[in-house]
Symmetry: D2
Amino acid sequence: MSPTAILLLHCPDRTGIISDITRFITENNGNIVYLDQYVDKQEGIFFMRIEWELAGFLIPKEKIAEYFQTLYGERLQMKFSLHFNDIKPRMAIFVSKMSHCLYDLLSRYESGELNVDIACIISNHEDLRFVADQFGIPFHVWSIEKDHSNKYEVEQAEIELLEKEKVDFIVLARYMQILSEKIIRAYPHNIINIHHSFLPAFVGARPYHQAYERGVKIVGATSHYVTEELDAGPIIEQDVTRISHKDTPESIAMKGRDLEKIVLSRAVKKHVECKILSYNNKTVIFG
Amino acid sequence: MSPTAILLLHCPDRTGIISDITRFITENNGNIVYLDQYVDKQEGIFFMRIEWELAGFLIPKEKIAEYFQTLYGERLQMKFSLHFNDIKPRMAIFVSKMSHCLYDLLSRYESGELNVDIACIISNHEDLRFVADQFGIPFHVWSIEKDHSNKYEVEQAEIELLEKEKVDFIVLARYMQILSEKIIRAYPHNIINIHHSFLPAFVGARPYHQAYERGVKIVGATSHYVTEELDAGPIIEQDVTRISHKDTPESIAMKGRDLEKIVLSRAVKKHVECKILSYNNKTVIFG
Amino acid sequence: MSPTAILLLHCPDRTGIISDITRFITENNGNIVYLDQYVDKQEGIFFMRIEWELAGFLIPKEKIAEYFQTLYGERLQMKFSLHFNDIKPRMAIFVSKMSHCLYDLLSRYESGELNVDIACIISNHEDLRFVADQFGIPFHVWSIEKDHSNKYEVEQAEIELLEKEKVDFIVLARYMQILSEKIIRAYPHNIINIHHSFLPAFVGARPYHQAYERGVKIVGATSHYVTEELDAGPIIEQDVTRISHKDTPESIAMKGRDLEKIVLSRAVKKHVECKILSYNNKTVIFG
Amino acid sequence: MSPTAILLLHCPDRTGIISDITRFITENNGNIVYLDQYVDKQEGIFFMRIEWELAGFLIPKEKIAEYFQTLYGERLQMKFSLHFNDIKPRMAIFVSKMSHCLYDLLSRYESGELNVDIACIISNHEDLRFVADQFGIPFHVWSIEKDHSNKYEVEQAEIELLEKEKVDFIVLARYMQILSEKIIRAYPHNIINIHHSFLPAFVGARPYHQAYERGVKIVGATSHYVTEELDAGPIIEQDVTRISHKDTPESIAMKGRDLEKIVLSRAVKKHVECKILSYNNKTVIFG
């Protein structure tokens, strides 16, 4: 894997953007290895993900963002982020009592499938410490009182830890607490949650019980970025599985767990590979 | 296909029901060709579908319901319906302007896949008369005023037609009007609708636009029995298809049409084959 | 829908192709409305579909191919085809006795979903003449003897008709005859077949029976371009559905028919929209 | 969970079997909590799974098999197996170098989802010892020479271990060796394999590479019982996922791993719950 730069950008649509940007890279000796773009015609916005090899590129790595901003960013009213494939993002995982999503993430991490560093696992319960221990990852517990009286100070402590650990993004792997604004605002489009329903159906608590009550024939799971409105952030990935009248809330939950872990891991992978652009509370997912 | 009787029943669960009923049939010389049962343990209710060949059955066809009621129905507090596979139910189809569900139903009917008689097609628009003409099926149009001022008399006329035509059940094949209580009550659990979303997500109007706005990654279609509450009746069948950020409301609608017609036709087939039992606003679907 | 030109091309990969081609279009005043490209890194081949509005484009429509060939085609060893969205391709449909795929295609055509002209329907049986009549499309029958003794002359007559009717591409909508080389060579990558299995499983005759015998839990359907090797051409689209031990060959075939018609129609749509590039017996499908 | 007995049986079909068997249980005071049956009409065979509570059942647990054989088994030419839900089967897992299926099984075991005892993990490589250690499960390694010269003695040692450990069934969790007859015959219908293709497509080695070469649009995974013919045993469960021309053999393998682990675990669960009956190289899977 040779070192590459990845540019994720969006701007008002106009003619010539693609040819401008590809020229910028090829004239500076960059070999484009990935290009995907999309135009939202209703909104008139151009989106692009472009990746090129850094070997031989004439602009030094640390100057690329500045040059790009000067030459194109301002003129084209562009918002962009620049990433390098040889810098691993640092991930924190929040869990409560259920282990399936955590095991799925950790076993992918262990086998090298997830190109991240795991800074720590944070929980409101001791239950999953043994899993963290199995994989040798620091595990921090802050219990939250039932009346939430200590929630503010817990989140304060968590934020301090996240900053100290230089965490880039957070994965809520069936974390059964609602995050407060403070932490959400500290990580915009960098907190990924798994909700165990096919959103927007069954927002909120106990979605499998809701599904059972309504008598649906298919249930789903949804991974999304966390925003201040509950279960309403930009959807990253969804998947579904069939159920029947024979299913109980318990058997639905069991089938659902297989969805949850796969759908969450897919979202984490897309995020880590810089293949997601968020806009207007939606996501553009590059292939 | 030899003549069979089909019994659909439910009653409070207790031991011995299966052995009672199978004995009733086998001791009277009936050869059971299908048996499926299900117990809802939460509610304590027993559900069954049993089908047997009439050739050699000792109880005359027209006496079976009476005997069964006397011998078991009362004692076991049973609700049951009795059907015969050689009596085709009579179906009416309601349509508006879109042809895909109508064509799908009619082409299955034409090829012998749907074991029904189609009594008539009813519409609030002239648009699809040519389809009815292609298949030689009576087409009746009653325009409904925008202010719904004539809705009462239109439905009155429709009910008279349905009665005259001895219609057993109604299929709303993308009929863009809400039926009033009168007609719903005349056909309890005998009106099948297709809603173009994965219910309970996106109830009501323009679900594909709602899906587009929310940025979901999967859309669905739902067939259900019509009850007085809009899009809230017992779900019969659902299916889904993937979409992406590249999809517009128009392309979502196009993909959705393929779901709608398949999901509606599956529901109609299950209904015609007496494989659906409704209970507590849910359905038990026998395999 | 404003008039557009569509360029489908592939060539050996090298740097600068995208910027060359997009510059060609934008410098000549074309507004790009679609661009998708893909590089097969194993083979070192670049693939592209690009579409732009013709209004205001400086090169006259009838000169575009020549200019593009002169300026880029030769230098880049490019193979390309040029299409215009306001010229409808002419389609011929071959059928035998089963109506489901034919009805599906015709009802989409009728509703305007398929942007084609249907030149004619060709069959080896009279059975589906009534469907052609329902839609007012010319229907031609040539019976083929069981010993295939007249197959050569039948295909000769068919080719004459196809030429006379200026047919651009052929759809085999469950046509139960194997085409000979002559007709296949006359329409390279322009004959679309639907095979009722998940290829490469169950090549050849009676795939649903084969699936039943093998005891698979999922069956599929595959649309592909026809090549001289049976059921081995480039795959365009596949889909699957679950079955169980309860399914008979007949019920599998019934479920399969729903797959076949959807999978065939999707392939026809992709073909008509010039979104398929064939290479090395595979397809690149643009989104 | 109260103690239950589970009877899995098949016999030639005739009238009265269901009523005979249900009477046997209810007359002896057993409360039936599960009944599912199926008739293969082509072969004339009746299949049944019936489960009842042992509390209050008049026949002692250890006598049930004998009584059932005497009263029904012989007369009805029945083959049956009797299981008790409070006796956990003992499972051995065979692995090579890939960890995803192993982690999936172990994390389900850890969370109590799989009602088994894991006797041991057996491998031909040291690579996954650390996973076994994480979960505290005995790990045994026997290297097999490239020329297979020691295969016989390795399998002999494995069989001795399996016997010593009283192993009931074996799961091949991406074990990259072909078992010899000896071990297959020792565990008829008790060795579950995961094959990383949608069988019968792509039998044998490197199925993802084969899928890539063929250009399929969907890949699958298949769990099946191991028989002496390679990849040809009774299929238990299959699932599929979409791929596109953009996928490389590596990305197909990555997507496939998610299928493999889910499809294998589902099969193991069905096996452990005594919901699989094998017959004629097919499986009947009870719901």
